[in-house]
Amino acid sequence: MLQIRNLTKIYDGGVKALDNVSFDVPDGQFLAVIGLSGSGKSTLLRCINRLIEPTDGQILWNGEDITKASPEEMRRIRRKIGMVFQHFNLVHRSKVITNVLAGRLGYVNPAWSLLNRFPKDDIEKAYKQLERVGIADKANHRADELSGGQQQRVGIARALMQDPAMILADEPVASLDPVLAHSIMKHLEDINDTDGVSVLCSLHFLDLVHRYADRVVALNAGKLVFEGLPKEIDDKKFKDIYGRDAERVG
């Protein structure tokens, strides 16, 4: 159970990216986060694993307050939270398999990382994850030789290596075409269904939200403006979320 309580983030320039946001995510839920660009979706997701330090508020995960965790505890928390990015964020010059293995860094003793060594089990596991996302044959290619869709699958494999209890997906399909978008979303759905991993996924397209999400939260200018089921988003709610001039497409 993830509980967000009065979460606020004010950036150094004074921009209020999150304004007193509170909601709960039960274990195993597929939650979509929607809102305009700049509404605070990315900030929200990054506050949860503290890539961005929240200014105020609490994030309770199974009772433990993430915002109060020490660096050492944070390492243990982060390794249970996988993250998938809009721009994939792979290390381009490294091999695909190395990128996937990097998901294990929270578990591996840092002294062994100096020697660039991973345990044998992890290497086997990495190949299994690549197989799961369907690109086992690309394991020894350089990451930047892959197409966008393939790169995102590597990103998912990397997140899976962490044995995550939760996956934060920051617009995972915004850089992909509709066909690829569905294939990536299906992978996330599969992880959510079979492994029981909670997924927090920010999305732009409402049809994807309807198709995949169990629940939706919507942000507008850092404020939580909607929380409920995807089908509850009617025209009025839509205008609340995206502004009065917005029109529904697709």
Binding site: S70, F85, A102, A111, L114, D121, M161
Partner: protein, 612 residues
């Protein structure tokens, strides 16, 4: 439009004034730099210029072995009384011979010297030899003979003012090149020194690069910005450095004593360098499990720490033993290997370097470890202890840390300037440091994370920029004093300059990497070290290689002149020859420099293309 018209005269005036100002600046520049072409036109300058240019155009690289044909023809100055001309024997016409007409003359007369049967197309001086001894090395005159295809020449020479009743001689010395051209001594010397130059640059670049890499991370804003620690942790880790360095140095020296106490018995050395790595590897494997899902208990953690410490000590013992072994092997190889003795010399020097560096390495390692360890304790303390206790702890520790740092700086000042007054170099800095630390602790919140990373970043940057502005040539002067004249001083100077300038260039590359992968690796729970290894290093490999190549280029060029101040390399030879006015030799060295620099340029561009 209106505005434009109005501004126009003012604008013209401005341009006029700017032009005038420019002219004045250049006029003053001419005065200052003493531009003077009259000097260039003077005959003396022209003559030396031509002489030097010609010498430079004929580098002393190849020469021929020469044979000389010397013929001394008896000759009288002045003509003896009649009847004694028979003293001149008939020349042997089967060998080279000279015919002088007339056979005797008065001083100042012009005589014609004709040579026959010499080797064709040879040249050499024709001289008047005073005194009655044909082997006299003293000779007068400046005529040169040049034989034709038949070995014949004709020279008119003026008889010098050396009248004598005895017979004197006119000597023709014709020199002939024999065999194939071969390299001159200058060429050999140049080769020796150019090899020295190239290796000087190589060593400086390698050592410089190795040290510049860690420094560059400390000078990269994007990496250091996120390093934040509570004051308790900062103060404790600051205190950890000096304490750790002292402890480490003492302990490792003790280990070194233990090692040298065993003597330089090769079998003991050999046994220990086989056993120690095995012990260390197994010990560390046990103490540092690759992966752990559960948090280990206190007792286990402490045991592990103990084992790691023990392993490190054993490791240092092994290093000392390795040094002793390489030194003794090196010594024996140096004599037995003959022309490959340099391998033995290398081994011996490596052993020596290990012996000297190991205590320093141990001191640094202990300093870093203790600092890290105490920092963690500080972190833990500031997390767990109540606010008021933390505040008090902060005040005490921060004052102690400030006092220690400034006290050490005071001692450095004392060592440099020998002030000799403990009030200025010990008590005053300690007090100031303590007060500064105290104020810092009082005016910051007890558990607030302070941007210590940015502080380290600023200090590193400032140091790098200051050191970088000191030219390598100036550093070489200092090192020549420290380690003596020779290429080693050059290596040190170039190496130091390489460290500071590469660290700056590298750090700019680190600052320009993509932030995405960094974020992704951090999100997996990787710590700082892992983030650097898996997200930063892969991204900076190409620019690092490219900059290292570029630096290697610069170092080769620098090492050609570092000899001017005694730093070894070809510059030493070049300067010597210029000072001795031996321009032909200097020319050979200049050509060598040009060739080496352009070859390096080519190689580095090829390698850059390959790798990047």
């Amino acid at each position: 439009m209106k505005n434009n018209k109005k501004a126009s005269p003012w604008k013209s005036l401005q341009i006029g004034l700017a032009t005038l100002l420019g002219l004045v600046v250049f006029a003053y520049g001419f005065q200052i730099t003493q531009v003077n072409l009259e000097e260039l036109r003077s005959e003396k300058r022209q003559e030396s210029l031509v002489r030097v240019t010609r010498a430079l155009a004929q580098p002393e690289i190849f020469e021929y072995d020469q044979t000389e044909e010397i013929v001394n023809q008896p000759f009288y100055v002045t003509c003896p009384s009649s009847g004694s001309e028979t003293n001149i024997p008939e020349p042997d016409t089967s060998a080279p011979y000279l015919v002088i007409t007339p056979a005797c003359a008065n001083p100042g007369d012009i005589v014609q010297v004709e040579g026959f049967n010499f080797a064709p197309y040879t040249t050499g001086p024709v001289r008047f030899v005073p005194g009655s001894d044909p082997t006299n090395i003293v000779s007068l005159g400046r005529d040169t003979a040049e034989t034709d295809g038949n070995g014949h020449f004709v020279v008119s020479m003026e008889i010098p003012d050396r009248p004598s009743d005895d017979v004197q001689y006119i000597r023709a010395t014709l020199k002939k090149n024999v065999g194939a051209p071969h390299l001159t001594q200058t060429a050999y010397d140049t080769w020796d020194k150019i090899v020295e130059t190239v290796f000087l640059a190589l060593l400086a670049t390698v050592f410089g690069t190795m040290l510049a890499i860690p420094l560059s991370f400390m000078a990269a804003r994007n990496l250091m910005k996120t390093v934040k620690s509570p004051l308790t942790s900062i103060a404790l880790s600051t205190l950890g450095w000096p304490i750790g360095i002292v402890i480490g140095f003492i302990v490792v020296r003790w280990v070194g004593g233990l090692s040298s106490g065993l003597g330089s018995n090769i079998w003991i050395n050999l046994a220990s360098i086989v056993i120690t790595p095995v012990v260390v590897i197994f010990g560390l494997r046990w103490a540092l499990p690759q992966e752990e899902t559960a948090l280990p208990g206190r007792a286990l953690q402490i045991t592990r720490l103990g084992v790691i410490l023990l392993e490190v000590l054993i490791g240092f013992f092994g290093l000392f033993q390795l040094a002793a072994l390489t030194m003794s092997i090196g010594k024996s190889l140096e004599t037995s290997l003959g022309s490959f003795g340099f391998l033995g010399y290398f081994l011996f020097q490596v052993g020596d370097i290990i012996t000297i560096l190991t205590p320093a390495l141990g001191a640094l390692a202990a300093g870093g470890t203790l600092s890290n360890f105490m920092g963690r304790i500080g972190q833990l303390a500031s997390e767990k202890l109540p606010m008021a206790t933390t505040k008090i702890l902060n005040i005490v520790l921060s004052a102690a840390a400030g006092a220690t740092v400034l006290g050490l700086i005071g001692q450095l000042v004392e060592w440099l300037y020998q002030i000799g007054n403990p009030l200025y170099v010990l008590w005053a800095p300690v007090t100031v440091g303590a007060i500064a630390g105290l104020l810092l602790a009082v005016f910051t919140k007890a558990k607030e994370s302070l941007p210590i990373g940015l502080v380290i970043y600023s200090i590193t940057r400032t140091l790098l920029n200051t050191m970088r502005s000191v030219e390598a040539l100036v550093m070489a002067i200092v090192f020549v004093i420290a380690v003596g004249i020779g290429p080693f001083a050059g290596v040190m100077a170039l190496g130091l300059h390489t460290i500071v300038s590469l660290a700056k260039l590298y750090s700019e590359q680190v600052e320009s990497i993509m932030a995405g992968p960094l974020e992704a690796i951090e999100a997996t729970g990787a710590n700082r070290l892992q983030t650097i290894i898996y997200a930063v290093i892969p991204q900076i490999v190409p620019p690092y290689i490219s900059y290292t190549m570029y630096r290697w280029d610069i170092n080769v060029r620098m090492s050609t002149i570092i000899g001017f101040v005694g730093g070894g390399g070809i510059g030493f030879l070049l300067q010597q020859n210029i000072n001795l006015l031996n321009y032909r030799a200097a020319s050979a060295q200049m050509i060598a420099i040009a060739v080496v620099v352009s070859i390096m340029d080519y190689i580095s561009s090829v390698m850059r293309e390959r790798v990047v």
